[in-house]
Subunit: 116 residues, 2 copies
């Protein structure tokens, strides 16, 4: 299949890289998996606690981007203090099985690989 590289050898069109550019950063998949494994919607501070070592700045940025990409939803309840609930969208959920399959592969193969 030549769908993944242009014939002129340019690199602009490569779906795999599109995905990695979007979710290949330090926190995105972790946020998605945390949402998937939590009870339905999770609040901002719940996410922060479950992930543990994410900085507030990066969690905010990651959530904002995930929302812009339509992978999670953000529901604001304008109370005082405010309450915000995050949840996976259908599109976000449709990505997760692929991530889990990657995780399975990793569990089988990364042990030897990981001499970091």
């Amino acid at each position: 299949m030549k769908v993944f590289l242009k014939n002129d050898s340019s690199v602009d069109f490569c779906p795999v890289r599109d995905v990695f550019d979007r979710i290949g950063d330090k926190w995105t998949v972790l946020v998605m998996i945390t949402l998937d494994q939590g009870e339905s919607p999770l609040r901002y501070h719940e996410l922060q606690e479950r992930i543990g070592d994410v900085s507030q700045k990066m969690l905010t940025a990651t959530l904002k981007r995930l929302q812009e990409d339509g992978l999670i939803s953000r529901q604001l309840y304008p109370e005082i203090p405010p309450r915000v609930e995050y949840a996976l969208t259908a599109r976000g959920e449709s990505l997760l099985p692929h991530l889990y399959r990657l995780a399975e592969w990793a569990s089988e193969h990364m042990r030897d690989v990981k001499k970091v």
Copy 2:
């Protein structure tokens, strides 16, 4: 499944992130796909030409790491000038279907997402 996050909320153990840390950089998946779509082994300069815009430094670094991780093999023929052939290993090939599935997902969903 709680396999992906530790119960103490630490982030050290997450297979998905292990994979992304290893192959989530700018060139790794592209090299793997290029090898997969080329005729069996490819030489260094063939890779460089097919990928097009990868710098020599990054291609070298990427190949070295892929080799360290056992995802590609490197066969050196000590001629003058030297000849080196790179090919996917069985482990490398076992990862590719997962990448292609991610690519399919991307083709379906990233069009809307990508307003970069």
